[in-house]
Symmetry: C2
Subunit: 328 residues, 2 copies
């Protein structure tokens, strides 16, 4: 099912919020005075590390799965991913009681495969190339009739991801505060795209920023060039942000985002450690990218921003390999 580009708007995010209500967690919002001090402003963290499957991806997956017609759903859903989207789609499918088929490269860690299988999905292993991945997905589709759910270049996924920011606005208002700016990490752009729609649907004057690793800076380069420039040879510790920006997301982002702040892996690790040590928030490196952007001079120059909403995207980190432990 492919939607017209104009069909994805604030209303789609609001509808997604109703769809995922009671299925996805309404994750908590946390603040940390020590981090506020370092940032020089108030920072409200939307803690998607506490979301089901440990990442915001569950929102988009539930929305996409639950929008399928009964006939479509009967054949199940399909994706290629070895990351959080794979687990999210597997769990969303199990909740609806339909099959999920996940194409994974043979190089994916066995623990990731086990996690997806633990949610009841069928894993189909392929060679670790783009060609093999797509041909395998096509074979599975032909065999099963399953609906392909792209990790980020899908309107229902984008709308679902936007619900995190929608909740954050409600929750911050409930604390008697208001955001003047928001920051998310950007990889494929599903979270950022949904955030744009949610934010400017709530209040067009709220300013939207993205944080991106220097080693996977296609969004920043696209933004500077005014045209979509695909990512080649990404290299960053933020392993959730290696993908190229999706076309649908780029269309949204170029209209709504004020700036894309790039940060080094050292800045990412430093922000991650700050979140662990001072806020006790266990997040993965990709999550720390948004805080790293807030702490970067390029964002610091905005003296008129006093209250920033930051989405902590997930907490799926290998506890045997922490980036600040050189011997791990």
């Amino acid at each position: 099912m492919r939607m017209d580009a104009s069909a994805i708007d604030f209303e789609a995010v609001q509808q997604a919020a109703r769809t995922i209500n009671g299925i996805a967690h309404r994750t908590p919002v946390m603040t940390c005075s020590a981090i506020d001090e370092v940032a020089g402003r108030r920072v409200f963290f939307k803690c998607e590390n506490f979301q089901k499957v440990g990442a915001f991806k569950f929102r988009g997956a539930v929305n996409a799965v639950n929008r399928l017609s009964a006939d479509e759903a009967a054949n199940g859903v399909l994706t290629h991913s070895s990351g959080n989207h794979a687990q999210a789609l597997a769990l969303a499918a199990r909740r609806r009681g339909i099959p999920a088929f996940i194409v994974m490269p043979s190089t994916a860690p066995s623990v990731k495969r086990a996690a997806v299988e633990g949610y009841g999905a069928e894993v189909i292993v392929c060679e670790p190339t783009l060609v093999a991945r797509e041909s395998t997905a096509n074979e599975v589709k032909a065999r099963t009739g399953a609906t392909f759910i792209h990790p980020y270049d899908n309107d229902h996924v984008i709308a679902g991801q936007g619900t995190a920011m929608l909740e954050l606005f409600e929750q911050v208002a409930g604390l008697g505060a208001a955001l003047d700016s928001v920051v998310t990490p950007v990889g494929g752009g599903g979270l950022l795209g949904g955030t744009c729609l949610a934010t400017h649907g709530v209040d067009p004057s709220i300013r939207v920023f993205a944080g991106e690793p220097v080693g996977a800076d296609d969004a920043a380069r696209s933004f500077a060039a005014g045209t979509l420039i695909p990512q080649t040879k990404p290299n960053t510790i933020a392993d959730g942000l290696l993908t190229s920006l999706g076309q649908r997301n780029w269309t949204i982002i170029r209209q709504h985002v004020e700036d894309v702040v790039t940060v080094s892996d050292d800045e990412i690790i430093s922000a991650m450690r700050l979140l662990w040590e001072r806020a006790k928030l266990l997040v993965e490196p990709s999550s720390a990218v948004a805080l790293a952007a807030v702490l970067n001079d390029r964002f610091r120059q905005h003296n008129d921003l006093h209250s920033v909403g930051v989405i902590l995207s997930g907490g799926n980190v290998d506890l045997n390999r922490l980036p600040w432990l050189s011997n791990s």
Copy 2:
């Protein structure tokens, strides 16, 4: 200021709740379906790792500091501790605008000293012996007139710690659920003592358990013997639970606690890792002791318990030395 033993009761906990309201965080309650599955029942975690200074100790410290008369307060407060109570008392004193004097052994890590000084307290270093610690504290008291606030053998501290469980009952009720049992770790017994008063003040039929490291099992041995047996030569990874049970707490605990479940360091590390990996809750080893108790066969035998409240006591862990990393 010494209170009569009869003065510490449920009302003292309720009064403490009013005293700390707006000063200490009302920390979130978290659940994790993966852990529920492992435990074979619902587990509600009261997340004191998100408390100010990263531990429940702030509750007792605020209550003790804020109960001082203006005259008493003017001379400040004093304690000997190198742990969470030191930071908690330092911050509680700063909030009231009074001096804090913290006696610390020369062997205390410099990072702990820096943390206490960061909250504006004066650190007085002594030799790492009990005799030196007490004589130094007496010297400081004579010089300053400061009020000594014991880390756990103090009625206001005990009442303050009880507020965590009082909040948990309210929060679980707000979720439409009810606890039939509660578990906390036990070291000096301040948290457990306060929990007893809070729990049986709310509902005398709710069953109270404690988790204790095998390597520091004075509470379990005291419980079995029916008389207080001091801890000697403790040896456990749960470094917040090395102290002997306080007399005041023992008096409360022996009346209210159903059982003290001892757990090995391996069980503690395993429970800690479960909390980090599945619930994304960054807790210190002492915090994991209560969950380790819930997962121990001695607790598992209680098939009639369906809904257990567990206090996660704190999150101050050395991120360079994680217990499951043998090379760290």
